[in-house]
């Protein structure tokens, strides 16, 4: 028996960054919102014992329990997809705040080029620059149109930073000053200036100073304690939904937040969403929550899974390239990096913050001429100091033993003498890369898992080699005695951590034929259903995705309010 609850204005599926932002914006406007979150409640007090590398970084305390839900993976359609049984390449968030709790806080705007990538690439290099099976498309929105929403997100989160000399135009400065500079950051800055690049301080959601945001939320400054990525912030200095937007929604009295509520289906009738059906995982009870508008804001994979399991939208078909749900899955190319060993230096590598670093964008987007390279786009290069915790960071020169006497000697010797310059390489979508439902493996409720079909392409291999060489050049200029540079990218491997920057599957665009949602994240095929998050990216840029997710969420919130008043397609 399904228990049917009274209808609400809006029901939100998944309360992380996107869900939290939309909940706070809608409830401020007086709408009644129900937020359904699969995982548990979270609070700053939970992190009293958070400086525990084993529990959080290696046993994934804050991540989704894979025994209940995971995905399957294959490199290509000829392979048998097999479940991701353990964590590796990326980490799925869980609980209130979602992946917004365990992020590093590196907060970049995508470039103007990104939003019009197809037009601008053709304009500068001609049609032949784009491989036939590369399915890049314009986003249906420009940077200038999205700029006010970036600004909104950055002010809400209190982003600390200085202007990117090669970025899009800003309407306002970052709300807080840049983070402190460590000696290695100063070395990177000096070296990149000598090379005529344009270094700037990484924009950071770890507050450089105490800050009160426009919603009246006050937060303390970052302590550089080195526990950001994979951890929650015990100071509330790192912006996350639990310390920013969720309390604002709660204060209105209009937000009904229900944790342990696992949404399994979006209900719909005659082309309109009618609500959702979820399971209370503490009791097993099946509950129906009717709503005027349904907003799906879970992680990329679950957004696609929910639509496909609910039979909404046209599933993507890789043989024809038709259909949209599951299309344009993309990732991040981060391995094109280099490591430098500084024999006579010693650094405080144990200290840091998730978004402490220096960046250059000289090789990102279309900031350089691609006429003579065999790839498009690029990525930022950076030196970050996120805090090298001891189990996971044992830098040793390439080809040296990985265990035994020599390993111990090397790893102890080099731990505070090693600096990396890393790339955040963009990832282009391809016809053969997509998400669909796995025909064999099921989640804990018997629903099919998502199946990922993805591998690196020549574009990625060439880009990674290029960024690795540039990284090497910077380390050389910084005075490294020995440098290990990535030589070959190799196949995509789901077992080694790369980044939790999975994108696509429910992409936005200007044409209902080739995209699932419009630039308000509203489904073309079902106008009272909004699907918000990095699932809407038609490709992934050479940046961390959160700022763009946040901006699109603010825009979606505006659209939902409009829709609530007038109805109909917003574009």
């Amino acid at each position: 028996m399904v228990k049917k609850l009274p209808k609400t204005d809006v029901v939100i599926v998944g309360v992380g960054w996107a869900g939290g932002i939309i909940a706070s914006e809608l409830t401020k406007q007086g709408l009644n919102v129900v937020g359904l979150e699969k995982g548990q409640e979270r609070a700053t007090e939970d992190y009293y014992m958070v400086h525990d590398e084993l529990r959080y970084a290696l046993r994934y305390e804050l991540m989704q329990d894979l025994s209940k839900d995971t995905l399957t993976f294959r490199g290509n359609e000829k392979m048998r997809a097999l479940p991701m049984r353990q964590y590796g390449s990326f980490l799925l968030g869980d609980g209130l705040g979602g992946a917004g709790v365990h992020w590093n806080g590196q907060t970049f705007r995508f470039l103007p080029y990104d939003f019009e990538i197809r037009s601008k690439t053709i304009e500068r290099y001609g049609k032949n620059k784009i491989p036939a099976d590369m399915t890049i498309q314009d986003w249906g929105i420009t940077y200038d149109e999205l700029e006010p929403y970036f600004d909104k997100f950055e002010k809400m989160a209190g982003i600390s930073g200085e202007e990117n000399p090669l970025g899009g135009k800003r309407s306002a400065k970052y709300p807080t000053a840049p983070m402190k500079h460590s000696p290695q950051m100063r070395m990177f800055k000096e070296a990149t200036e000598k090379l005529n690049y344009h270094p700037y301080t990484m924009p950071s959601a770890n507050l450089s100073e105490p800050y009160e945001n426009p919603d009246g939320i006050s937060r303390a400054a970052c302590q550089y304690c080195a526990f950001c990525e994979r951890f929650g912030c015990e100071y509330g200095a790192k912006a996350d939904p639990v310390v920013t937007v969720i309390p604002v929604a709660k204060q209105t009295g209009k937000f009904d937040l229900r944790t342990h509520s696992w949404v399994r289906r979006i209900l719909h009738k005659d082309g309109k969403a009618t609500g959702v059906r979820y399971t209370d995982v503490t009791t097993g009870e099946e509950i129906e929550q009717p709503a005027d508008t349904v907003v799906v804001t879970s992680y990329v994979f679950n957004n696609v899974k929910l639509l496909l399991n609910s039979k909404i939208g046209r599933p993507y078909d890789s043989s024809t390239g038709k259909g949209v749900i599951g299309k344009n899955y993309a990732y991040q190319v981060v391995k094109g990096s280099a490591v430098g060993y500084f024999e006579d230096e010693k650094f405080n590598n144990f200290a840091g913050a998730g978004a402490l670093g220096m960046v250059i964008d000289d090789f990102n987007g279309d900031n350089f001429d691609h006429s003579d390279v065999d790839f498009i786009h690029g990525g930022y290069l950076s030196l970050t100091q996120t805090g090298q915790r001891p189990i996971q960071n044992n830098p040793i020169p390439k080809e040296s033993p990985t265990w035994g006497k020599k390993f111990k000697e090397n790893s102890l010797r080099y731990i505070n003498k090693t600096l990396s310059v890393s790339a955040m390489g963009a990832s282009m979508p391809y016809k053969q890369h997509y998400l669909d439902l796995d025909p064999v493996y099921k989640d804990t409720f018997g629903d099919p898992l998502i199946r990922m079909t993805y591998d690196f392409k020549d574009q990625d291999r060439n880009l990674a080699k290029f960024t690795a060489k540039k990284a090497e050049g910077i380390l050389k200029e910084m005075g490294a005695d020995k440098i290990d540079t990535m030589e070959e990218l190799g196949p995509y491997n789901i077992t080694t951590y790369q980044s939790t920057h999975n994108t696509g599957g429910v992409i936005m665009g200007e044409d209902p034929e080739t995209s699932a949602i419009n630039n308000y994240s509203q489904m073309w095929d079902m106008d009272n259903l909004f699907v918000v998050g990095a699932s809407s990216f038609p490709h992934n840029s050479g940046y961390n995705p959160t700022d763009t997710v946040g901006a699109l969420a603010y825009r979606a919130a505006e659209g939902i309010v409009k829709y609530h008043k007038n109805g109909g397609l917003l574009v």
Binding site: M49, H51, D52, E53, L54, L58, R59, Y60, D65, L66, S67, T70, F73, R74, G75, M79, R80, L82, P83, M84, R85, Q86, G88, K180, H181, S182, P183, Q223, Y224, C225, A226, K346, F347, N348, F350, A351, G352, L356, R389, P390, I391, N394, T402, W403, G404, K405, F407, K408, E409, S411, L412, I415, N416, V440, Y441, K442, P491, N493, I494, T495
Partner: protein
């Protein structure tokens, strides 16, 4: 001859011990002090009185077994010591309590793969698809240890723990390089699991049973659990005595 060697070795060990003590900030004027501080130097018991006092203070109730039997424990102790051996820099896996750490981990959710997806069907996959076996970690260890013993007996006529360090290294290398023929588990995966859990035991917070007295951290100047680095982040390298989560209670 062997006597001389022993003396040499003792001398060498004392030297390295002193270096380690100096690095870890518990030597005063080049001399090790006794009492509470002395308890972190269990090998340096000069007098009966010291050793008695020491025993009292270092009795660690955590050092009993939850999963391994005695012989399995000794095998893992020997193998992990080869992965992270004692040397001039400081203690190895044995002294840091790594084998106890592994035993305790296997007794809990990690040993049972409680948060991994373990649903059938099971198929062999590509390396890029990750672990696809049906065995959990505690089963892998039990089989792996038995195979270490078998392989040692077959090739060196004695058990793993009785082998010389050189021969132990050869056995482990053959596992790491997949030169051992086993059908139940992947020898290289077993080795990698042991390697990664060795590093966990060396460097995780002492609350888990390894990283005895934070000596793993001291060897690499890692300050453990500190509330902030605001004062030092802009400056040159700074040595900070470590804290554990216990200090935070």
């Amino acid at each position: 001859m062997s006597e001389e060697k022993n003396n040499d070795q003792v001398e060498k060990e004392n030297l390295s011990r002193r270096r380690f003590l100096r690095n870890s900030g518990i030597a005063v004027g080049g001399l090790a002090v006794g009492g509470v501080i002395g308890s972190v130097i269990p090998w340096n018991a000069d007098t009966a009185e010291n050793s008695e006092q020491q025993q009292k203070e270092t009795k660690n109730y955590n050092h009993a077994l939850m999963y391994f039997n005695q012989s399995e424990f000794r095998t893992i102790e020997a193998a992990t010591e080869r992965i992270f051996p004692q040397d001039d820099n400081g203690p190895g896996a044995r002294e840091l309590g790594v084998a106890f750490y592994i035993d305790h981990q296997l007794a809990g959710s990690y040993g049972f793969n409680a948060r991994d997806y373990m649903q059938p069907p099971f198929f062999h996959g590509e390396k890029e698809q990750g672990y696809q076996g049906r065995l959990n970690r505690r089963e892998i260890y039990r089989i792996g240890i038995r195979e270490l013993q078998n392989y040692s007996h077959q090739n060196y006529d004695s058990g793993f723990t009785e082998l010389s360090e050189e021969d132990q290294d050869k056995v482990l290398t053959d596992f790491a390089e997949e030169k051992v023929n086993i059908t139940t588990i992947s020898p290289s995966n077993f080795f990698l699991l042991m390697r990664s859990m060795t590093l966990e035991g060396v460097y995780s917070d002492p609350l888990y049973g390894g990283n005895k007295d934070m000596d793993g951290w001291k060897m690499r100047d890692y300050p453990g659990n500190q509330m902030n680095y605001t004062e030092i982040i802009e400056g040159d390298f700074k040595e900070i005595p470590p804290n554990s989560l216990r200090d935070h209670m």
